[in-house]
């Protein structure tokens, strides 16, 4: 599944870039994340509870790693999530651009989804992916204010 979209932050580029290295703020980017802690450097791990429509309270162990960091321009985010309902595995290439005092994030995520969520939820995957990423970024944006 490819999710390609963008988000306009109400904060400047360095703030956005720095914010996303902070596990507390980064956690907001992944809606439903209960905990996210630094494992080492820019590797994080935690737990996430997802409820979207028919899926209620699906628990996932998540891991996040930020790589190819080019401050304050771009980075790649490797995401893994694993739970009883299935798993998610993928990468998102993120680019930040100045938009005056604001910052535009352009991202392209390539996600593999497996298990039950994929096999019976295909109709909704695209929408869920888009909705969750936008919701997450909105939460990050609020946190940065």
């Amino acid at each position: 599944m490819i999710i390609q979209s963008e988000y306009l932050f109400d904060a400047d580029r360095p703030t956005v870039y720095a914010g996303l290295q902070n596990p507390e703020i980064l956690a907001r980017a992944l809606p439903g994340t209960q905990t996210l802690e630094i494992v080492e450097g820019t590797r994080y791990a935690g737990e996430m509870v997802v409820s979207v429509g028919p899926v209620t309270a699906a628990r996932f162990e998540v891991s996040v790693e930020l790589t190819d960091l080019v401050e304050p321009e771009s980075f790649t985010m490797l995401v893994g999530g694993k739970g009883k309902a299935g798993f998610v595995d993928g990468r998102a290439d993120v680019r930040l651009e100045d938009r005056g005092a604001q910052c535009l994030m352009v991202y392209k995520a390539d996600l593999g989804v497996g298990g039950r969520v994929a096999s019976v939820g295909q109709r909704l995957l695209d929408s869920v992916g888009k909705a969750m990423s936008q919701r997450g970024l909105k939460a990050v944006d609020r946190m940065l204010q």
């Binding site: 028919p54 309902a85 969520v117 019976v120 909704l124 929408s127 909705a131």
Partner: protein, 286 residues
């Protein structure tokens, strides 16, 4: 494919139901007709800890006429009851027209109007139909009763203005203004399947034959019912002609950002939305 365990509550009143939902918080789920929830539970995608069965709440059933020709439909009213209601057929032909598009008779015999509206599945027919009919939702929670206009009800994917401890109790639909005509169009893979795309349309004609007001809502092309606002605006004040319809359909398609799935790509959905909008509006030409 068996549901995970849950605690079962069968309240005898709306108030009891609300307190059960309040107590259960996010782990509680209201069970209306169960035609979406129970399959999700059988797949173990939905695993509510508390299930509040609304089946005993007869006060939420029934189709009640308003003096002005509008209707109030209780949330627990079955699809079948709406389908076969002479009141609905007389006053809200669009609602009668859409019922056979909803799954199959066996599902409509259990599925409820409130369940469909609250579930907020983006492929559901009723939210779009209620949207073009300017419905108002009656919501009850621990703090009392409130009403929500349909345009403020849908927030996003499976998300509505309902708080976890609130119940949708009824939907109130005003009468169609004089000079109004309605149409529904949908394409699905098989009869009764989730729509690939669909559109509900109401057009109110002014005395001079121009469009006084148009309402167009699409389903299965977004996170919920999608109001085609630019298309609606472009029709206002004009007569329905091949030209104005083409424009409206083009605007409809252009404004969409539909999801793709294994049955229809985003591009195909966008295309279908335009085709169906054209067909619906064509039917509404005098």
């Amino acid at each position: 494919m068996k549901p995970a365990p849950f605690e079962y509550v069968r309240p005898a009143s709306v108030e009891e139901a609300i307190s059960a939902l309040t107590e259960g918080g996010y782990a509680a789920k209201a069970l209306a007709g169960g035609q979406s929830l129970i399959p999700a539970m059988n797949f173990r995608l939905a695993q509510p800890a508390v299930l509040v069965d609304l089946g005993g709440l007869d006060e939420l059933r029934g189709i009640h006429p308003r003096d002005d020709g509008g209707l109030v439909i209780g949330a627990m009213t079955l699809h079948r009851e709406v389908e076969h209601s002479s009141l609905v057929a007389e006053h809200l032909p669009l609602l009668a027209e859409v019922m056979p598009w909803i799954a199959h008779p066996q599902i409509r015999n259990r599925g409820t109007v409130g369940g469909s509206l609250a579930h907020a599945d983006p492929a559901a027919e009723l939210p779009s139909v209620m949207q073009v009919l300017d419905a108002v939702l009656h919501v009850q929670g621990p703090d009392g009763v409130r009403t929500v206009p349909i345009d403020e009800f849908y927030y996003g994917l499976f998300t509505t203005a309902l708080e976890p401890d609130e119940l949708l109790t009824a939907v109130e639909i005003p009468p169609l203004p004089a000079g109004s005509r309605s149409a529904f169009e949908e394409v699905s893979r098989r009869h009764g399947d989730f729509a690939l795309a669909g559109v509900a349309a109401v057009v109110q004609e002014a005395e001079d034959g121009t469009v006084a007001r148009a309402r167009l809502s699409l389903l299965s092309v977004g996170d919920g019912p999608v109001l085609a606002e630019r298309a609606m605006a472009c029709l206002a004040g004009r007569t329905l002609t091949a030209e104005s319809i083409r424009e409206a359909a083009a605007l409809t398609s252009e404004d969409l950002d539909p999801p793709g799935d294994i049955h229809a790509s985003a591009e195909f959905r966008r295309h279908l939305a335009g085709v169906l909008t054209t067909r619906a509006l064509d039917r509404l030409r005098a």
